[in-house]
């Protein structure tokens, strides 16, 4: 493994080309800034994706292969960690947005000041955000209009004020959305069409989204779903200022004699090491891998990892948890239609309410059961084999759907991402070790929401319901946040409110890591809006004026 000739220094080097890194790249390059993006995974084109449940859901075609990219998990530091694919996200250009169906709700005003609203919660590090909903609102609008989000402004009565509606009307109604809507109406609950990363009609020169059954956890061979791969990457490339290098795995960010970030040292597809210098570095590897990269970047100046003088890098990690009530109906539901996640939602249980006996709340939505495709569909009491298993497949596969929840798990000081001292990945680097104990508030919230989701299914006419209570946070929905929290105080946060490291002024983190709390909603819209906000800040700092815009022109 040789060290290749050093490439030219660049304005900004972004590590990662997923939801956050590609958003930042679009904004920076469209404002005249040259960007090198180092993405550890491949750059797969739409032609490489297919409607193949076995490959995509079961055989790691898109998920990280646990033999190459393991992680370890333990509940507390006295426990022996075990290898577990905790909270995986596809590692490739486009990241998790390559295989998602993309539920894109906004957070609400109260999400940014839950500590003020709910008070102290024993055993947690619950804090307000250093920014408000108003700070993000313009960027929510920019992302929704550049990305092409289908939804209905005002349909969610708990939604915070918006400056503009959605660019596309809601997606067509699925039977599972319809049933959910009926159940909510019966109980007097508000429901709304889940805002989605899909096009209900042609938009910005892109055709309407194909309604394939192979969508959730599948790449999109038609390129008609909205993703970092189908929107941000082409926008950034169109500027001619985006040097996107796939299969380039950054091992370390080095620092100069002033303690500023100097270069990214990466291993390329040939296995050779390359050093890329830049004025500014942005990390968008996802909250687990960004924390891991900072911890791997040890130097005399930062012996415990870059920007980690506070020992807070990796701490306060939050992951959400997806849990659901499954309902079985007499009539066909076809919950595989559209891939199972062309959904309807409710924020009825979202806002904090003291009378419920727990802090926080959850976005709930109708969806297929798990991945509602033939191999991976199941019911909680379905046997693994035999005549009864076959009967349940035959009778219930086409007659069931779930009302799922996004659990708002509480931040805790000892829930953290560290480097494992035993297990290494296929590139000989220590893997991320997750230490995580589930807080009693999380369990109480899960129990309450699941019980109420069951009532919705019953009101919708389910003949049988299964309540799957979350028993611990397992990382099963791939959401990850809070490992590099932003805040005003360097003693209690890693980044300032512009997501700039308190200790290293040319280093930014733009994924979910900066989120001080998890909230109870799907994070990617906010990740992208925040990345846009941070990129805007970098543009302003550099004093470069706006040049062209591609998909952002309507914002």
């Amino acid at each position: 493994m040789a060290r290749k000739r050093k490439p030219e220094k660049v304005d900004v080097c972004i590590i990662g080309a997923g939801a956050s890194g590609a958003t930042a790249a679009k904004v920076l390059t469209e404002n005249g800034i040259n960007v090198v993006a180092l993405e550890r995974g491949p750059w797969r084109k739409k032609e490489s994706f297919g409607g193949d449940e076995l490959a995509n859901v079961n055989r790691y075609n898109l998920w990280p292969d646990p033999i190459l990219n393991p992680r370890t998990y333990r509940e507390s530091e006295t426990e022996e960690p075990r290898e577990e694919l905790f909270c995986p996200v596809p590692q490739m250009v486009g990241g998790g947005t390559v295989h998602w169906q993309g539920w894109l709700p906004r957070f609400t005003e109260s999400d940014f000041r839950l500590r003020t609203i709910a008070g102290e919660v024993q055993g947690t590090t619950l804090v307000d955000w250093p920014i408000s909903y108003e700070d993000l609102e313009p960027y929510y609008t920019k992302v929704e209009w550049a990305f092409g989000v289908s939804g209905k402004a005002g349909a969610n009565k708990y939604e915070s004020p918006r400056s503009k509606g959605y660019p596309c009307p809601p997606m067509p109604t699925t039977r599972y959305a319809q049933k959910f809507h009926e159940g909510c109406n019966e109980l007097g609950y508000n429901s709304f069409p889940t805002p989605m990363a899909a096009l209900s009609q042609p938009y910005n020169g892109r055709p309407a989204t194909a309604l394939s059954a192979f969508a959730q956890q599948h790449g999109d061979p038609t390129g008609t779903r909205s993703s970092a791969l189908s929107v941000w990457v082409p926008d950034a490339l169109a500027t001619g200022r985006y040097d996107l290098r796939p299969d380039c795995y950054v091992h370390e960010i080095t620092v100069d004699e002033h303690g500023r970030a100097k270069s990214a040292v990466y291993q390329d597809a040939d296995g050779d090491f390359v050093e890329q210098e830049a004025d500014v570095f942005m990390l968008g590897c996802g909250a687990v891998e960004s924390a891991r990269l900072l911890l791997l970047s040890q130097s005399g100046r930062f012996p415990n990892g870059l920007a980690n003088g506070s020992d807070l890098v990796g701490r306060n990690a939050t992951f959400h948890e997806y849990s659901a009530v499954v309902g079985v109906f007499d009539e066909p539901i076809h919950a595989w239609a559209g891939g199972g996640y062309v959904a309807a939602s409710s924020f009825e249980f979202y806002e904090h309410d003291d009378s419920r006996g727990f802090v926080g709340g959850a976005h709930i939505a109708a969806a297929g059961v798990g991945i509602p495709l033939p191999i991976n569909w199941s019911l909680p009491d379905r046997p693994a084999w035999g005549a009864e298993a076959k009967r349940m497949d035959r009778d219930s596969y086409d007659h069931s759907f779930a009302v799922g929840m996004v659990l708002h798990d509480m931040p805790q000081h000892d829930n953290r991402v560290e480097l494992d001292d035993q297990v290494k990945d296929a590139w000989s680097l220590p893997v991320a070790r997750i230490t995580l104990r589930t807080h009693p508030n999380d369990l109480a919230q899960g129990r309450w929401v699941i019980d109420h989701n069951a009532e919705i299914l019953e009101a919708a006419g389910a003949k049988k319901t299964y309540r799957v209570y979350p028993e611990r946070v397992t990382g099963n929905c791939s959401h990850q946040h809070s490992t590099t929290r932003m805040g005003d105080n360097p003693d209690t946060s890693v980044l300032n409110k512009y997501c700039q490291a308190h200790e290293v002024d040319n280093l930014f983190v733009v994924d979910g890591g900066p989120f001080p709390t998890a909230t109870g909603a799907n994070p990617t819209l906010t990740i992208m809006a925040n990345a846009w906000r941070v990129a805007d800040h970098v543009v302003r700092q550099r004093g470069t004026s706006t040049v062209t815009t591609a998909s952002g022109k309507e914002a």
């Binding site: 032609e47 490489s48 994706f49 297919g50 409607g51 193949d52 449940e53 076995l54 490959a55 079961n58 646990p66 033999i67 190459l68 290898e83 694919l85 995986p88 209905k152 402004a153 005002g154 939604e159 004020p161 918006r162 509606g165 067509p172 109604t173 699925t174 039977r175 959305a177 319809q178 809507h181 309604l211 394939s212 059954a213 192979f214 061979p221 038609t222 008609t224 997806y322 849990s323 066909p332 595989w336 239609a337 309807a344 798990g370 495709l373 033939p374 191999i375 991976n376 693994a384 084999w385 035999g386 005549a387 076959k390 035959r394 596969y397 086409d398 779930a402 296929a426 099963n476 791939s478």
Partner: protein
């Protein structure tokens, strides 16, 4: 007949005895009743191909052939397939050992009821008394995938693997050698595409399975600007 169709008719991994043993076990996992089961779907051919090496891991997304794996990905898959193959070879021996101990014949020669008894014990090793066998099978874990994520396949032991692979062979796209004539999909009412090429070309749509009437979500209100 192209290369992978030809391959589907041959024994690529199992010998004849292993083949009939696993085929018999699969027929109890998804039994044939008035509708097709694992046997009619050809799940044994699906598994035999999977275990034969790394030539059948991923179909090309347009269904024209299979992907050739390279580099670290190929190494990881070779490692995985080797581990799985070993589990099957040992698992088949365990099936026969138990069958001979209890019924004095190899597994494939037992009645369906006898086979079910053997499989039920394989599924629940806690009931075992034979220490050696208990050690050989003690890691049998119940298969309860989280609702959004798949298991790490090589962490499973023989019986849960067999159940998983039978299910995969019954319901995966027919290009992998099972789900013959889409019998699995037809059984449960999944109206899947005629081929991978349909989805790849964007011709596959589920719109006819959406609701007949659209929900009226109302007018945009003041929050909608």
């Amino acid at each position: 007949m192209n290369e992978h169709e030809k391959a589907a008719g041959e024994h690529l991994f199992f010998d004849e005895h292993q083949w009939v043993t696993i085929e018999a076990a699969m027929s109890r996992i998804i039994p044939t009743d008035d509708q097709p089961g694992a046997k009619e779907a050809g799940t044994i051919a699906f598994l035999d191909r999977y275990l034969s090496g790394i030539d059948f891991v991923y179909a090309k997304p347009d269904g024209s052939d299979f992907e050739q794996l390279e580099g670290k990905r190929a190494e990881a898959w070779q490692q995985r397939i080797d581990i799985l193959g070993e589990k099957y070879v040992e698992g088949i021996e365990a099936l026969d050992r138990r069958s001979r101990a209890q019924f004095d014949a190899d597994f494939a020669r037992l009645t369906a009821e006898q086979q079910d008894q053997i499989l039920a014990k394989m599924e629940r090793p806690a009931q075992q008394t034979d220490l050696e066998e208990a050690q050989a099978t003690m890691a049998f874990a119940p298969v309860e995938p989280a609702m959004q994520q798949t298991n790490a396949e090589i962490d499973l032991d023989f019986f849960p693997l067999l159940a998983l692979h039978t299910r995969q062979g019954f319901y995966a796209d027919p290009i992998y050698g099972g789900n013959k004539d889409q019998v699995g999909w037809k059984l449960i009412g999944f109206d899947g595409p005629a081929s991978l090429a349909e989805t790849h070309a964007g011709r596959h749509t589920t719109l006819s399975y959406f609701a007949e009437e659209q929900i009226d979500w109302g007018k945009e209100d003041s929050r909608g600007a």
